[in-house]
Structures are given as C-alpha cells and as structure tokens.
Amino acid sequence: MVVSVRSWVANEGGKHLILMLWLGVNTWLFIKTYLMYSTGQQYHYLYKMLGLGLCISRASASVLNLNCSLVLLPMCRSLLTFVRGTHTVSSRKTRRLLDKSKTFHVACGVAICIFSVVHVSAHLVNVVNFSVSYSDDFPALNLARYRGEDPKLIILTTIPGVTGVLLVLILFLMFTSSSHCVRVSNYEIFWYTHNLFIIFYIILMVHMVGGALKYQTNIETHPPGCLRANQSGTEQQGEELEQGEDEERRCREEARFQPHYPQTWLWVSGPLCLYCAERFYRYIRSCDPVTIVTVIRHPCNVIELRMLKKNFKARPGQYIVLNCPGVSSFENHPFTLTTCPTQNKETFGIHLRVVGDWTDRFTQLLLPEPRTDLEILPMVQQRRYPKLYVDGPFGSPSEEVFNYDVSVCVAGGIGVTPFACILHALLDGWTGFRLQRLYFVWVCRELQSFYWFAELLCAVHHKLWQENRPDYFNLKLYVSNTDSLQCMSEEKYRPLTSRLLVGRPRWKLLFEEIGKTNKHKRVGVFCCGPKGISRTLHRLCNSTRSSGTTFEFNKESFS
C-alpha cells in the first residue's frame, strides 16, 4: 500500500503540525535561555564559576516549566468536551486534534522526564563546581559554605536540593508506573501514583525558594570584568594599566547579587488551577447517585444497564465513567453510552461486557442469580440495586460521525457501543444531520453477539427503506469464527442474515468499493475495535486511492 501524500496530509497533517510547533517552541526556549545565561552580563561571574552546567540547567529548567504547564491541559476532559460541543468555536480539523489529547499529554510527560534527567545532571555538575570553585572574590555568589564542601551535603541542606530530590523520586514513581503493561494489568497502581502529581506541583513551586543562583544587579556601575583590571597587579602590568585606567573609572562599586524570585508558579499555577477546578466540577457533578431502571442480560456475557439521572444531557458517541462503591470505592471505569437521553425518553443506557473482576462483581450485585441460558431476561427488582455514581459525559471521536457527508463505522465486538448510540439518534430523526450515507461494518467472533443490537439495526434499516432512502444505511456483518456455523433463524432479522458474511472482512476491497461509489468526497472512517483492525484501517486510509476519495481516520480508544 503506497502512502499518498494527500491522504497522509489529511490524516496526519494536523497532528504533525502541532508536534512541530511544540518542538519548535521547546527548542526556541532552550536556546534563548541558554544564550541568556552564557552571554548575559548579569550572569558573567556565575558563569565563570559554574561553566556550561549553569546554562544547560537553566535552559532545561525553562523547558520543564513550559512542559509542566502544558501537561495538565489535555487532561481537562470536561473542558475538552465543551470545546468539542461548540461547533461555532472550532472547525472539524481542530476537533480532530482533540482526539490526540492523551498523546500530547504523554509527549509532554516524556519531555519532562528527559529534561529532568538533563536538568539533574547539569545541577549535579553545578554543585560540584560550587564546591570546587568556591569564590573568595564574591562570597555572596557561593552556595557552598566553604571550599571543598561535600556536594552531597550541599544538596541535602538547601531547599532546592531537598525539593529536587523529592521531585525526582516522585517523577520516577509516576514514570515507571505509567508504562503500557502496568496500565493494562494494574490500572490502580498507575492511577494512584499519577495522582501524586499534586504533591509534585506543590514541591515544584517551592523548588526555587532559597535562591541558589544569583544574578548581578548593578551592571552599569560595576561592569563584569572590571575587578580583574584592579587586581591584576603582577601580570602584564604594562598593557593592562592602560586599559585598566579606563575601566577603573567605570568600576565604581562592588558587585551586588540578588537571587531570582521563583518563576515556576507563573507558568504552572494557571493550568493547575484549571485542572483542580475541573476535578472539583466533575466531583460535584457526579455527587448524585443514579437510579438504575432496568438490567438486561444479553448473550455473550453482555449486560445492558438503563439508568436515570437528573439534568443529564449527552450527545451520541460520548462516554461516562461509572463508580460503584459497593464493588470498589476508588475505581472508575469508562463505558460508552448506547442510548442517550432524549426529549421522549429520559433514560440513558450502557452495554458492558463482563471481562474483568470489577465488571464481574458489578454484575453479581446487579443480577444476584446468574442464569446460564442465553435468553434475554429483563428483571425489575428495584430494591436490590447497588448505589452507582456516574461522571461525565465526556467527548470522544465518534461524535463526528454526523459531520461528514459519508461515514464508515467499523466496530469490533463490543466496540459497537458508540455506534449504537449514533443509530438511535438516526432512528429518532435522520434528516437533520449533514450525514448522507453511513457504512456500518460490524465484525464479531460469534453470531450470538449480533443479538445485542439486532432490533436496532433492523429498525433503522426498515425506517430508511420506508422513507425512500435505501442507500443511506449500508450494513455489513461479519462473523470471524468460522468453526461452528449457526444461523439467525428469526424472520424479523432477515435484513441482517442477508447481509451476514462468514470470515474476516477484506478491508482493501471494501475501501475500494466505498471509494468508487463516493468519488472525490471526504469520508470519515471511525474505528472502535482491536488494534489489528485499527492499524490496518489507518494504513489503508493513508494509502493512494484512484477514485480521489479522501478517507479521514478517527479512532476510539480508552486506555
């Protein structure tokens, strides 16, 4: 598959532009601070004492300031959901960039780690130089108390040293627990260590208190280098005296030094306050417990949960985060909404697949007697339901399905949930959207999984046929498990059985077909499923297309 420039630019251009911009700002800041410390007059004496370590440590410190302030912004999920919702503010391109907010957070985090290493190494060299090149000329400039003081003592007895050590330890804990395998296996470790960030920021803001590095305040009256002219009595007296007389007039007083005031809080306090406000808002919003209206058991280990909450508004494609104190007080799990509250019906619902210990325990609390047969059994036992808190809704890439002329939704297994909400919205009224055609591809391992939304799919199909738009909804179902063949025997599911194919879908052919029927259009591809499918689709979207169609890839993922 040859990568086409136009498709690549459409898919990856925005992301890479932001990346270049961010790298550019970091580089510019690093170089600017480096030059300020290496050539600035007010740092002349300090530079002579410490050398290169001074410039590198201060330059990396300014980059760290920038990244520590930027790293919090992508995590303000409610704010991003709000920005996504206001179409007048942002265009579709900007909203597509919001999908990559977590990637940006990771990039800033990695930059913080790398530059922390640089900063710490440079400061270690500085500490050694403070001790070795103890300045007798300018005692105010020294950090060490005497020449040759043990550097470890300097670190442990000054505020910047102690806070620096604590910051590095916290950063180390946060970094090692945020690797992919720890997140996948033990999300709690990741979550609890990452919440140490608040301590990190508080210590960061007091890191500069104590003023280890000082700058000279009286440059006009004492130009740097003039003292040497006064003192160089023994060497090169002839030449120096002529120059020295000139400077002697200018060198009127002793050099005076003053420490920098801590600057980090200027950078960091804004985003930190924003993030704390966001967390507070989310906490307030999720304070009311929801009322569980119905619990329905579906085949293949899926439970549908219908809930009711006051003042809960959601758009199709958004997700919520559930917290059930009866299962675990501190665990929060995200689930995509499969039905949003509308004017007619105020309940909203999720479909959750029982796959881990939290969902297992949650299902046991909801349905006390587990049945082994596969019928759909609605059970209405209000009194026994556990207390449940819902945080959200939060925005996701799937909200953009309605903003393309043609959309392709590819779902793998339980990944169909965001698209189920979209279909419900179409059922309520399909005429109001920009969307003119929807291709729906659903790949499941077992045939029984299609029963989760069989009625919904048939209802949408029938409605659009009756309203004379048979080309609007194009459904393709695939069963990837070819070993045991079953069939959907019910007559009412005829539209599904006639569109059911056994085996994995051939994506290239599918895309060619879609491209041929939608020439020179911009097609939005939405994928929610396993990594294999999303990688293949991403590559296909970036490759050349003879029909002139541009496929824009949008991926939905949680962890």
Partner: protein, 185 residues
Amino acid sequence: MGKIEWAMWANEQALASGLILLTGGIVGVAGQFRGWQFAAYAVAAGVFVCLLEYPRSKRSKGTSVERTGQYCFTVCVKAFGPLTRNYYVRAFLHAAICVPGGFMLSTVLGCVCLGIASLIYLVAAIRGEHWEPILPRKEVRKPVTESIKNPPQNPPPRPPAEMRRKRVDDLEGAAYDNPISVTDD
C-alpha cells in the same frame, strides 16, 4: 479491589533504576570524579540488574506481554531456579546492591530508585508472588487416537454361492435374511 500484581510494577522500577545506575556510573567513571571506583561498581551493578530484570514474569491471571527479545534472558534467569523465582531473594539482593551506590554523587539517584524497587519487591514477596518464565507455548499435537477403527478382516457372512447366484426369474424370492447379524449392535 482485586489482586494487584506488585511484582510487575517492581520489575519496571528495577529496570529503570538499573539504567539510571548504569548512566550514573558511566558519568562517574568518564569524569574521573572523586570516588570513581564506586562508579565503576555502579556500571557493573547496573548491567547486572538490567539483565536480571529484563525478562518479564508471566502474569497469574491474564495475558502476559513479553519484552522484545526476552526469550534468551528468560532461559538464563530460569536456570538459577529458586534464587530468581523467589522475590524475597530479589528484594534483599537489590537492597544489598544499591548500598554502595550511595557513596558517590552521580550514583545516588540510582541507589535510591533501586531501594524503592526493592521495597516493592518485598511487598510482592509478602503477597506470595513469584517469578514465572514466559515460555513459548508448545503446540501439543493431538495424538492420533484410536478413533480409526480397524477395518474388518473378514467379509460379511453370506450364504453359500449357489444361493447367492442371481435368480433373474424370481427376484422377490431371491431376497434372503442374514443368519448372523451384520450390524454391530
């Protein structure tokens, strides 16, 4: 809620601390700072810790993702048997390794990080976890069972030849019942 596998986090931390120790040691030796012998020790200790911690353990529940190229390391580490299986041994080993790193400035960070990793390994050991090698699953070929029955050695019992000769004139009378049952009920 649920069992947290502390060993996995401890493994990540120990690997990272090994790298930090190695880096600090290299800087110390290259700069020939005071006490560079500790830095040389830190290089060796860092390499050892990295080699020990590179192969990931198999998770007790769920899928284990192994690091790239970890198979040869797994075989080496497995060869030490109970020494590497037990996490108490690892915890005390890391605690012992990290102490000399504290005497030199460039290796202090690696020392502290390895100390934290050793504490978490202790927690993992108290919780009863142990190291399991991730070995490639051998494809167990189902042995050809006795399902293929022996083909019959003898022909089915038939009446003598003169009875079997086809009687064209009386086809109805030519039909006969087998004296011995031909089905294996």
